[in-house]
Each structure stands twice: as structure tokens, then as C-alpha cells.
């Protein structure tokens, strides 16, 4: 399996994501090997990767609107083409915001309801286990992961939200440690506690929590690793 992690100017979780993916190589849970490479924002080619990850950070400083500049990078043309052909794309945090701007996912991000940056550990509930990214997980599984964002308040109009919900496109929701989804377990005001959604076809996932920061026991959780392993095992299935 080959994975590509895109570096935009201002990405700052690129190394962390590369590290988490590299640590999977030949581990017991993963069927086969996993090689990881960086993809450069100014390139038009993807080479032959099986999974593309858009990492977290502040692409172009996010001085305008999160992800607004990055979507115009040359590499994004290739990423859109890859996604349209059914290739697996995972956007984490800023990567999610870029996928929204690139119209690979529906909806938009608002600033957090607190109007402050939030860094914290959250629990998220798996809402749909029939996706490449939750392959091997069960609906209702609870994953512990960090969030760190200023704009993670997912928004879409009523029609769009109904469509997203009806299509089972919500993959993760913020919940409490018992798996209950409620106002108190919603860190940023996101509609329906949405923490991660996918496109209709199911090959593009955007999520605000950082799986790469939950990929080592010493960091407090290994749950994030499961998402990478799912995607790679799904490709291998």
C-alpha cells in the first residue's frame, strides 16, 4: 500500500501524519506493508498512491478562510481527479476544511461557537461502520482523540443536512465517554454533533479530530491508528 501525505505551505501536521502512517508498516493489524511519501502542493502528479491524506495545519496561514487558498494548489486538481475516480482521500482538520472548499464534501465550517480556538480531548462515536475508514469497526464504537481548531463548527442548510443524514454520510459524532450525543458533548457547536462526514460515494472522508495524535499509547490513545488501518485494510480486502 502506498500513502501520500500532502504538504501545503503552512501544513503543520504533515510530519505527525507521516509518522503515524509509517508506524503501521508491517504491524500485525495491517495486512501487508505501508509505505508513506510526501506530496508537494506545487506538483500536478500523485504518482501511484492508494490513499491520500490532507493533513492538519494552517495552509497559507488560513488568513482568508480556512482552506480557501489551498484548494487552488496544483496538487488539488490531481486530488479531485483521484477522488472522482474513487480513490481514497482523508482530510484531517485543515484537510477537512480544504475538502469542503474543494467541493469534495458538502457543507462549510463556521468558527467555533465559543469564538475561541479549542484544543482538547474528545470522544467520537462511529455512526457508520460501512465505510473504508471505519472498516473493521462497529457502529457505536467510541474513539478517543484530540481536536485542535478554531473553525470546526460544521454547518449546512436544512436540506443538505437531511441529505447528509439520510445518506448515512455522517461517519463520526462528538459524544461523551458513554457514547451519548448531546449538547454537552459538542465542543464547537457543530450541527448534530458532526465530527466527520464522507461523500455519497464513500471514498472521501473529512474529520476534525486528529487520528495522528492518537496513534501511540504514550500520547494517551491509539484509537486514531484504527482509522488509518481501516482504510489500508479496506484497500487490501
Amino acid at each position: 500500500m502506498k500513502t501520500g501525505v500532502v504538504i501545503f505551505p503552512g501544513s503543520n501536521c504533515d510530519r505527525d501524519t507521516h509518522r503515524a502512517l509509517s508506524s503501521l508498516n508491517n504491524m500485525v493489524d495491517l495486512r501487508g506493508s505501508c509505505s508513506v511519501k510526501f506530496l508537494w502542493h506545487n506538483d500536478y502528479e500523485l504518482d501511484d498512491v492508494d490513499l491520500i491524506v490532507l493533513p492538519g495545519g494552517f495552509s497559507y496561514g488560513d488568513y482568508l478562510r480556512t482552506g480557501a487558498f489551498a484548494r487552488f494548489s496544483p496538487i488539488m486538481k490531481a486530488v479531485v481527479g483521484f477522488a472522482n475516480k474513487g480513490g481514497l482521500v482523508l482530510g484531517i482538520c485543515n484537510g477537512f476544511q480544504i475538502l469542503l472548499e474543494a467541493n469534495l464534501l458538502p457543507g462549510a465550517m463556521l468558527p467555533n461557537s465559543s469564538l475561541r480556538f479549542i484544543c482538547d480531548w474528545v470522544d467520537i462515536r462511529v455512526e457508520n461502520s460501512d465505510t473504508p475508514f471505519t472498516y473493521g469497526m462497529k457502529k457505536g464504537d467510541i474513539l478517543k482523540m484530540p481536536i485542535a481548531h478554531f473553525e470546526g463548527n460544521f454547518f449546512a442548510d436544512d436540506n443538505k443536512i437531511n441529505e447528509i443524514e439520510n445518506d448515512n454520510s455522517v461517519v463520526f459524532r462528538y459524544c461523551n465517554a458513554r457514547g451519548e450525543v448531546n449538547l454537552k458533548s459538542n465542543p464547537n457547536g457543530s450541527i448534530n454533533n458532526i465530527a466527520g462526514i464522507m461523500n455519497k460515494r464513500g471514498n472521501v472522508l473529512g474529520m476534525m479530530p486528529h487520528p495522528e495524535r492518537a496513534s501511540d499509547d504514550i500520547l494517551g490513545s491509539n484509537d486514531g491508528k484504527g482509522i488509518f488501518i481501516s482504510a489500508l485494510n479496506w484497500l487490501k480486502r
Binding site: 505551505p9 503552512g10 503543520n12 501536521c13 510530519r15 505527525d16 509518522r19 503515524a20 492538519g56 495545519g57 494552517f58 497559507y60 496561514g61 488560513d62 488568513y63 475561541r116 480556538f117 479549542i118 484544543c119 482538547d120 480531548w121 484530540p146 485542535a148 478554531f150 486528529h210 495522528e212 495524535r213 496513534s215 501511540d216 504514550i218 500520547l219 494517551g220
Partner: protein
């Protein structure tokens, strides 16, 4: 010209000295350059002779204090840690958001221009009282500024301190410490060498922002300081991030001869310092400097403090490779000059020489002036120290005091007072939870952060490169230094050492940020030198070097002068993952031991004293240099032997608050504590005394004998106070508190104050 020199805050004696060295009158550009390089901020003219007394070496030292942009200590193999702390107090006082943001940016550049990759930042923040709306405004702006810059750049903000005291009203202290990991083979020096080598300007274009920022920082704040806002720079963390990545590649490929951040006094200080360190000169063509504003004069170009700029010296052979890397990272750059043999700074402008100054006269500790300013013990010192805090407490009308805590009864008992004071301390802003603050900081980017802020006495960062861990802490209790600056300086070092030791780390070096008032006042100078002596003594006992730092004078506003505040940034090392020790209680049934000695009369300068009297007086806690060293050594050896389940330094609020923090952090486990018999009469003061050199530790009952034996062997005072209980409660003598309730109180103070 003499008039201009005066306006630029040069003394008449200094001006005469300029005439003597130059052998002529300086022109406008030259006087600007000299004034800024001779400002307190750049030249350290009043502090340098005192800083020279610090112990500077250990067998880990790879740089000497002041010789490079930051201190560097060897970790293992080719890896080392680079770290430094710096203040941005004055800018933060007039423009808190940008002041704090650019404070973060400036110190990051200091470490990454050497080739280090930043892995952590810490902030020591001091504000006026939280009830004061202006202090809240400054607090909010500073936290937002740190959050904005650090998060976007991608450095985790992992620890620090936030303290509130009336002395900082209108003059907050914003001290930022940056820590990076560096491959010593790739280290870039701050020296310019090699005649004919190119001088390259990298980063943002130069504007008029921050002109005379260094001089601004070398003066007291006045009512008019807000109109000095143009002296505050604007931060661009995105460009900083690009600079970092480009610098890393330049370092890895060994392309640069030397490199330095354009910090205070911008192009002037970077070119002057680099050439002075290399024993060469630099010639710059100012027509080539990238500008973002029209019609800037050489004076403005040289003195601008526009952010996110670096000066690099390259051989002509490597220049194309460096240019290619800068283009790769979309950075602006320009070759603006070259290294010359003559040790002068020569500036060309429109085809003519605009300035020519011997570099030596600009260099701190060399040609720049150095003063041994008069010192005088302030009258207040003896006045404060002669008061006896315990007598005053005994004399205090307890019924009157009880009204403050809403206790209504005819006769007030110790238990009732303990109950109320304990809760009031827990919810006092300096002690209360700082979650509102650190939740706004990305403290995990880089996947090195092992402990969430607030869950350990110091930040713990893993060093994957060597398998080691670093413990990081910043500390200073200004009220101790106010009562006795020597004690305050020494205890700042010791508290930071205790904080890293509590997580299992051995202290290996410090950086210091010395925040004081106007050095021309003999009383301030006396405080300063006393604090330096205290720091020196503590470092010698611990055998840790002062690797570098920053002096910030003139921290005075119309209302107050700040407490003398010598902030210490400590780095400790953990060799083995097994030694990482949590703060929170771990197992029900664990024995709770007090390590160290308590003197219940040590309430001078304490949080208890502030709460009860609203002011500080008496003597601060004793330094106990020797006990510190011995107790820290004991704790570390007990941890390494696997005898310690959890450990927590005893500081603000004393034993009572320390127990509460261990319990609240566990969330589930409580404690049952018996007050030692000899303190039964003075139990209230025993609980809140801030005697130093103490830790609270948890030990499995099966290890009680072993740890007691070890204590006996090492002659360490170790007292069993009680045990961990499987109940959300803290029981101390006859008092009992519910952990959920006190957690609520502890978490809500700052959150509620900062709402809306």
C-alpha cells in the same frame, strides 16, 4: 546632533564617547543605529556585569551564554536541546494581541535560526488582578495572541504559568520560552565570516513597524505609551513557518556560513552582532533591501522591527542552492551586501556611503557602554522584613475575617476557618485552573506532548531521536522576590527544579528572563543584583548552568512598579520512560508522604497571606538550598527505584492545595490526611505555609519500608501523612471536602471571569 542624541535617550556622556570613538560627529543614520545598539534592550549595559557572575558551564554545554542566539545543551549522540526565554512586556501592555504574538515569533526565530526545530513553547504571564477590567482585557488579548501565533506556526504551547497581582496592573509580563531539538552536526552559528561572502536578507519586506522598539522597551510606560503603538510589530506566523522549513533545509544541507534573526533593532543588530562575533565587517546596500512602504530612509530601514526576517551569510558557491530553497518555500529574499575585512558596518544608499561605524562599538560588552549602576537597599525592605506574619495573624480579628467568608457564628473555630480559606484559595485566580488558557493553545502538534497541561508539574516532551524525555517548566513567585529579591531569585530556580523533578526529570539547565523596574533607581538595581546572586547560588547548588536569557528593565507604569520578577525556564531530562511520574493519585490505599520539612510560620509572601491580609509582608520562605538539592536527589532516586506512584511539588497554597490538586487530577481518588501531632496547635498555618523544598508523594504500601529506609540512609525528612482513599473526598483532620464540588470551584474562577 546632541539634541537628537538626547531624544534618542543617549546620555551626554554616551554622546561624548561616540564623538571620541568616531573622531567626528555621527550623522542621522549613525546616531539612530548607535542609540538603538546602546539601548538597554540591546546592549545589556546595566545588567551585563552582574550576569557575568552566573555559572555558565556544564558538561552538556555546547554554547556559551550570549555567544549564540540560544543556549544549547547536549542530550545524547548528535542531538541537543536549544532553548531560550524572552520578554515582550511593553508591546503587550499597549497592544496585547500583537505584542504577545510577536513575542512568540521572536523567540522561535532565535532557536530555529540555529537550525533547531521548535518542539515546545511555554509562557510565563503576570497580570494585574483579575477583577480589574483592564487586566482582563490584557489577559484575554495576550492569550489570544499566543494562541494565534503558536497554533498557526505549529509549535505546541505546553506549559507556563499565569499569575495575578496588583503590582502588574498596566504592566503585564509576557515571557515566552522556546525549546527546540537540534542536530549538532547541522548547527548554524550567528557569526559572519569569510571576506567576500554574500549577506542575504530573507523573509518579509521591511516596513515602518517597530521602529525604535528596542528603545521603547528601554523606557518606563507612561500614559502616552498607547500612542507608541507604531513601536509594536505585526506578526505573520505563516511566513514564520515558511522561514522555519527553509532554514531546516539550509541547516540539513550545511549551506549557511552564519544566520541570525532580525529581532530587536532588526537589520542593525543582526548585521552588527554577526560581524562583531566573526571579527569582520559587513557592507550593505540599502537600495536592495525589500521594502513594503514608500520613501523609507536609511534610518528607518536600519531600525525597523518588521517581523519574520532573517539575515544569512553564504559563500558564493552555496548561494544558488540557498536561493533555490528560498524559492521553493515562496520566501522573499535579496542579496544585500557582503562580508568585508575591515571591522566596520558600512551602509550604501543611492550610490553613496550613508553610514560607517566600527562594529566593535556596537557590540554588547565590547564597545557598547557597560555600567555598574549604584545600588541601595530600599527602605521598604527592612520595613517589610521586620514584620512578623504569624504575630499579625494571631492579632487578626478572626470574627472580622469570618465575615469575609460568610461564616456567621459567635465564636469561630480553626476548622471553620480552614474550611473557608481552603475553598477561597482554590478559587483564587493564581491558584485556580488555567484550563481556559491552555484550551486555546494547540498543545499537541508535533506528537511529542506526553502530559496535558495542568496534569503534571511540568510539560513532558518525548525526544524520539534519542529515546529520552524533556521536562520543561517556567516559574517565579514575584511576591517572594518583592519581600527579598535574593530569596525570590533562588526560589524561582528551585521551584522550577522541583517541578521537573516531580515528573521524574533531572534538572540540566536554565534560561532566565529578569523583569525589573527602572535600573537607574538604586533600589531597583539593588533588587536586580540580589536576584542575580540568588539565581547564581541556586544554580551552583544544583549544578545547572544559565545558558542565556533576557533582561527586561523599565517595567514601571504610572501606577506601580512590578514586583522584581526573575522568571526561570528550566529544562530537565528523563532518561527512561519508566521514570515519568504523574501528579495525580494512582491507587486507593497508597501511602501519602510529605517529603521535606514544614515550618508553619513560613507564610510571608504566600497566597494565604495575600488572601487574608490583601498584601505581602515579613520574610519570604527560607531558601533551604541544601535541602532542595538533597530532597530532589532523593526523589529522583526513589522514582528510579520504582518506589513512587505519584509526586507533586508543594508551592502556592501549601500542603492543602497540593493534596487537592492530586485528587482533582485523578478525578476518582481522594485522600485521608492526619495533621502531624506537633502541628496540632498550628494546624491552619501548617496547611497553608509555603515552606520550600517539599513534595507530596504517593507510595504503594508494600514499598513503605523501602522508601523509609532510603530516606533514613540519605537522611531525608519523610513523614507519612495518610493514604489515598477510594472516595471522591479529601479528609484533612476534621475537615472534609467533596472532590466534584471543589473541582467545580477550581475550574470556574477564570472561566467565569473571562466570559463575555
Amino acid at each position: 546632533m546632541r539634541e537628537i542624541a538626547r531624544k534618542l535617550k543617549l546620555s551626554d556622556v554616551e554622546y561624548s564617547r561616540i564623538l571620541e570613538i568616531l573622531g567626528r560627529e555621527p550623522n542621522y543614520t549613525e546616531i539612530g543605529i548607535i542609540s538603538v545598539m546602546w539601548s538597554e534592550h540591546c546592549s545589556y549595559k546595566s545588567s551585563l556585569i552582574h550576569l557575568k557572575r552566573f555559572p555558565k558551564h556544564s558538561d552538556r554545554s555546547l554554547t556559551e551564554m550570549g555567544a549564540e542566539n540560544a543556549g544549547v545543551l547536549r542530550l545524547k549522540d548528535k542531538w541537543a536541546v536549544a532553548f531560550k526565554i524572552e520578554s515582550h512586556n511593553h508591546p503587550s501592555a499597549v497592544a496585547p494581541f500583537q505584542g504577545a504574538a510577536t513575542g512568540v515569533g521572536g523567540i522561535l526565530r532565535d532557536i530555529f535560526c540555529m537550525g533547531a526545530y521548535p518542539i515546545a513553547s511555554l509562557d510565563s504571564l503576570h497580570f494585574g488582578e483579575l477583577e480589574d477590567p483592564i487586566s482582563r482585557h490584557l489577559f484575554d488579548g495576550v492569550v489570544r495572541g499566543i494562541s494565534f501565533y503558536g497554533n498557526c506556526f505549529g509549535v505546541p504551547t505546553v506549559a507556563g504559568e499565569v499569575r495575578f497581582d496588583y503590582a502588574y496592573t498596566g504592566n503585564p509580563l509576557v515571557n515566552v520560552m522556546a525549546v527546540g531539538i537540534i542536530n549538532t552536526e547541522d548547527m548554524i552559528s550567528a557569526k559572519a565570516v569569510g571576506v567576500g561572502n554574500s549577506v542575504v536578507y530573507i523573509g518579509s519586506a521591511t516596513g515602518r513597524d517597530g521602529i525604535h522598539g528596542a528603545s521603547f522597551a528601554s523606557d518606563e510606560l507612561t500614559e502616552e505609551s498607547a500612542s507608541d503603538r507604531p513601536s509594536v510589530q505585526i506578526g505573520d506566523p505563516f511566513t514564520e513557518k515558511l522561514l522555519l522549513e527553509a532554514t531546516q533545509e539550509i541547516a540539513e544541507q550545511h549551506l549557511a556560513v552564519g544566520m541570525q534573526d532580525m529581532g530587536a533593532a532588526g537589520l542593525t543588530s543582526s548585521s552588527a552582532e554577526m560581524s562583531a562575533k566573526g571579527g569582520v565587517g559587513i557592507e550593505l546596500n540599502l537600495d536592495l533591501v525589500p521594502l513594503r512602504e514608500d520613501e523609507m530612509t536609511p534610518y528607518e530601514i536600519m531600525l525597523s522591527e518588521s517581523q519574520e526576517r532573517m539575515l544569512l551569510v553564504s559563500t558564493n558557491e552555496n548561494l544558488p542552492k540557498i536561493e533555490a530553497l528560498l524559492r521553493k518555500w515562496d520566501l522573499h529574499y535579496a542579496v544585500i551586501g557582503k562580508v568585508i575585512a575591515e571591522p566596520i558596518l558600512r551602509l550604501w544608499w543611492k550610490g553613496e556611503i550613508d553610514a560607517e561605524i566600527p562594529v566593535d562599538m556596537l557590540n554588547a560588552g565590547e564597545g557598547a557602554p557597560m555600567y555598574d549602576l549604584p545600588q541601595e537597599k530600599p527602605v521598604l525592605f527592612d520595613e517589610l522584613n521586620s514584620q512578623n506574619p504569624v504575630d499579625e495573624w494571631d492579632k487578626l480579628d478572626k470574627l472580622e475575617l469570618s465575615k469575609k467568608f460568610d461564616i456567621s457564628c459567635d465564636e469561630i473555630t480553626d476548622e471553620e476557618l480552614i474550611q473557608s480559606i481552603f475553598l477561597a484559595l482554590l478559587s483564587s485566580p493564581t491558584i485556580a485552573s488555567k484550563k481556559w488558557v491552555y484550551r486555546q493553545y494547540d498543545y499537541q502538534v508535533g506528537v511529542r506532548t506526553i502530559a496535558i497541561p495542568g496534569s503534571a508539574d511540568s510539560a513532558i516532551m518525548r525526544i524520539m531521536e534519542t529515546g529520552q524525555f524533556l521536562a520543561l517548566s517556567t516559574d517565579c513567585v514575584g511576591s517572594y522576590a518583592y519581600l527579598d529579591p535574593f530569596v525570590g531569585g533562588a526560589l524561582a530556580v528551585m521551584e522550577s527544579a522541583r517541578n521537573v523533578a516531580a515528573v521524574g526529570a533531572k534538572p540540566i539547565g536554565i534560561t532566565d528572563c529578569l523583569n525589573f523596574g527602572n535600573p537607574k533607581k538604586p533600589a531597583v538595581m539593588w533588587q536586580f543584583t540580589r536576584a542575580c546572586d540568588g539565581i547564581s547560588d541556586a544554580c551552583k547548588v544544583l549544578d545547572v548552568p544559565v545558558t542565556g536569557g533576557n533582561v527586561s528593565f523599565y517595567n514601571e507604569s504610572p501606577k506601580t512598579a512590578v514586583f522584581p520578577t526573575p522568571v526561570i525556564g528550566m529544562v530537565g531530562i528523563i532518561e527512561d520512560e519508566k521514570s515519568i511520574t504523574p501528579m495525580s493519585f494512582q491507587n486507593a490505599g497508597d501511602s501519602i508522604y510529605l517529603l521535606g520539612e514544614t515550618d508553619s510560620s513560613e507564610i510571608g509572601g504566600s497566597q494565604f497571606q495575600k488572601l487574608v491580609f490583601g498584601k505581602y509582608f515579613g520574610k519570604p520562605p527560607k531558601i533551604r538550598l541544601d535541602s532542595h538539592k538533597r530532597n530532589i536527589d532523593f526523589l529522583l532516586s526513589a522514582i528510579d527505584s520504582g518506589l513512587v506512584e505519584n509526586a507533586h511539588d508543594i508551592s502556592d497554597g501549601g500542603i492543602g492545595i497540593t493534596i487537592a490538586e492530586c485528587a482533582m487530577n485523578s478525578g476518582e481518588l481522594g485522600a485521608k490526611i492526619d495533621i502531624p501531632k506537633e502541628f496540632e496547635i498550628a494546624k491552619l498555618l501548617w496547611l497553608f505555609s509555603e515552606s520550600q523544598a517539599r513534595f507530596l508523594i504517593g507510595v504503594r504500601p508494600k514499598n513503605n519500608d523501602s522508601i523509609e529506609k532510603l530516606a533514613l540512609e540519605m537522611n531525608i525528612p519523610l513523614t507519612k501523612l495518610g493514604y489515598v482513599i477510594d472516595e471522591k473526598a479529601i479528609v484533612i483532620g476534621e475537615n472534609k471536602w467533596n472532590i466534584d464540588e471543589i473541582s467545580n470551584l477550581y475550574e470556574s474562577t477564570i472561566l467565569n471571569a473571562m466570559k463575555g
